[in-house]
């Protein structure tokens, strides 16, 4: 079996005058969990739905295993998808819901009980979905996604509605599936959660690619924030700025240098013979990275105050 892949090429989607996705290109590889991050309205859900053949792109291509979703011979066996606003008939039991999909796709009925067990819904399988909590519905969605034992798993905000145990369970499940060779592509706005789950990120802003790569590498590239205390804070800021390191005063004797490394700051300090009283380094978090990548996605506080 060829390795699973997800590839988006020059994908564009316009809804009337609004461009939801704008010439987006990226690839996602198997064997790892890739996070699809971006502010609300960045175009994540639209992109995922184009990938799954539910939305027709204005131009460009969204390919799974090299072909468009509708061209897959048995799509449910190739791709499992958990989508927001995917529905259930409230009067139908979870088991019936899955049996219908299994029947439509030729998946054995025994698999229905397997996936129900996998997501922990066996006990409630005969209950009507109308009485399910949001977390249970989310588990049922996941069960449906896993029905065809796909090699590609696409999840749109899968943690929605899950309680902390549920989120932890989901994280370990996704990590396990990725380690077993699956391609796991997961959109999320919960950055702290995503940071613990994903190996790679695709960051989207205003429908465009803002960044892509290994999370650890992106974080290293983004550098760290260095806090210093000095007897000459003014001269320190000038020295750092002169060498292209963003720095500013904070408080009486503190200086904060951003997106740099302790090595670079240390070299500057030694060269210019500035007395340092204290120096601490804190690595960028995914949240910092996200905000720096998606700046302009939201109005700065100053502008908000004026409106």
């Amino acid at each position: 079996m060829p390795t699973a892949s997800v590839e988006v090429r020059h994908l564009t989607k316009r809804f009337g005058s609004v461009t939801a996705v704008d010439d987006l290109s990226f690839t996602v590889e198997a064997g790892r969990v890739t996070g699809f991050l971006g502010p609300n309205g960045a175009g994540k859900t639209t992109t995922l739905r184009m990938l799954l053949g539910l939305i027709t792109p204005t131009s460009g291509q969204a390919l799974v295993n090299g072909v468009s979703y509708p061209s897959l011979i048995e799509p449910v066996r190739a791709v499992g998808a958990v989508l927001e606003s995917s529905g259930f008939h409230p009067g139908r039991s979870a088991r019936s819901h899955l049996r219908i999909i299994a029947t439509a796709t030729g998946v054995e009925t025994s698999r229905v009980d397997e996936v129900l067990d996998l997501v922990g819904l066996t006990k409630d399988a005969q209950r009507r979905v109308g009485g399910y909590s949001m977390g249970m519905r989310q588990r049922l969605e996941l069960a449906r996604a896993l029905l065809g034992e796909p090699a590609v798993l696409v999840l749109d905000e899968p943690a929605n509605g899950l309680d902390p145990q549920g989120i932890a369970w989901l994280r370990s499940l996704l990590r396990y599936l990725a380690s077993a060779g699956m391609l796991v592509f997961i959109s999320s706005h919960l950055l702290a959660e995503a940071a613990q789950t994903v190996d790679e990120v695709v960051i989207l802003n205003h429908g465009r690619l803002a960044a892509q790569g290994r999370l650890s590498e992106l974080l290293a590239e983004a550098g760290a924030t260095i806090r210093l205390r000095s007897t000459e804070p003014e001269r320190l800021v000038a020295s750092l700025s002169a060498r292209g390191i963003g720095a500013r005063r904070e408080g009486a004797d503190q200086v904060v240098a951003e997106s740099t490394t302790p090595e670079r700051v240390g070299a500057v300090v030694a060269e210019d013979r500035i007395v340092i009283l204290e120096m601490t380094s804190s690595g960028e978090s995914l949240e910092d990275l996200f905000f720096s990548m998606t700046a302009g996605g939201a109005l700065p506080a100053r502008e908000l105050a004026q409106t």
Binding site: T45, F88, H89
Partner: protein, 262 residues
């Protein structure tokens, strides 16, 4: 395709509203049958128009209640199609089968079977009602059953085809409430007006095409209820209904059903 049809059938049997609809069909058919049978007809002009109780012509009139099954089949057809959008099951359905036209085709075929079941519910109610009337002394079992047997095939074909017409309406309108209002509104309000004004135009409309199939009963042919000489021949009526179902389904598949599922 077989898988999709099985899945569509499974969708119907796994929700309670299907059974509720069948029950309503049976109760409604019996109710209308009783109302027709017991209509006052002992005085004035009604005495001339209304056949005496227990006669074959009277049973034809009672069993005209079977026409209710057509409306219920229409409702069921609309629900089969638009329920996907109402409950947002269109997403899992089209994930399982991205070629949406095939899903519509499966629904059309399954709606034929659903129409048969709806008709069976109505026919059962009509039979029970007929037996009650026989027990009450109106005519013999043989006569009653004979009239029912003669009426059934026409109503069955009309009901089955009305189900597919409902699928077509649902495919083109997508919105459940809208499709029900349009479907039942046309049948109950708009078409009768058009038929009254221009019978030769009206006969090409769905419910008049269905009426052409109901005329297994001698009563209808005799012109009771406003004259039916304008109706198409039965086979033409059936073809007209098939054309409506297919045209609406195909146009719906190429237009509304192609739109983005968000």
């Amino acid at each position: 395709m077989i898988r999709l049809m099985k899945a569509e059938a499974l969708k119907l049997v796994t929700i309670r509203s299907t059974y509720a609809l069948l029950l309503m069909t049976a109760i409604g058919t019996a109710g209308i049958g009783v109302a027709v049978a017991l209509a006052p007809h002992n005085h004035g002009i009604q005495r001339l128009l209304f056949p005496p109780r227990g006669t074959p012509a009277w049973y034809d009139l009672v069993f005209s209640a079977l026409a209710l099954a057509e409306d219920f089949a229409l409702v069921l057809g609309v629900i089969i199609m638009t329920g996907e959008f109402r409950h947002k099951t269109a997403t899992p359905t089209f994930l399982a089968e991205p070629r949406r036209g095939r899903v519509v085709a499966a629904k059309l075929i399954v709606s034929l079977g659903a129409g048969v079941v709806v008709m069976a519910a109505a026919a059962f109610a009509a039979l029970v009602l007929g037996l009650c009337f026989v027990a009450a002394g109106y005519g013999g079992v043989g006569e009653m059953a004979g009239r029912l047997g003669q009426a059934l095939p026409g109503y069955l074909v009309a009901t089955v085809l009305f189900g597919t017409y409902g699928i077509g309406l649902g495919a083109i309108l997508k919105n459940q409430v809208l499709a029900l209002v349009v479907g039942l509104g046309l049948t109950a309000v708009v078409e009768p007006i058009i038929v009254a004004a221009w019978p030769t135009v009206g006969r090409w409309f769905p419910s008049e095409a269905a009426r052409s199939l109901e005329t297994g009963s001698s009563l209808s042919r005799s012109g009771f209820g406003g004259g039916l000489s304008h109706l198409l021949p039965s086979w033409e009526g059936a073809l007209v209904l098939i054309a409506y179902a297919l045209a609406l389904s195909i146009v719906g598949s190429m237009t509304t059903l192609r739109t983005d599922i968000t």
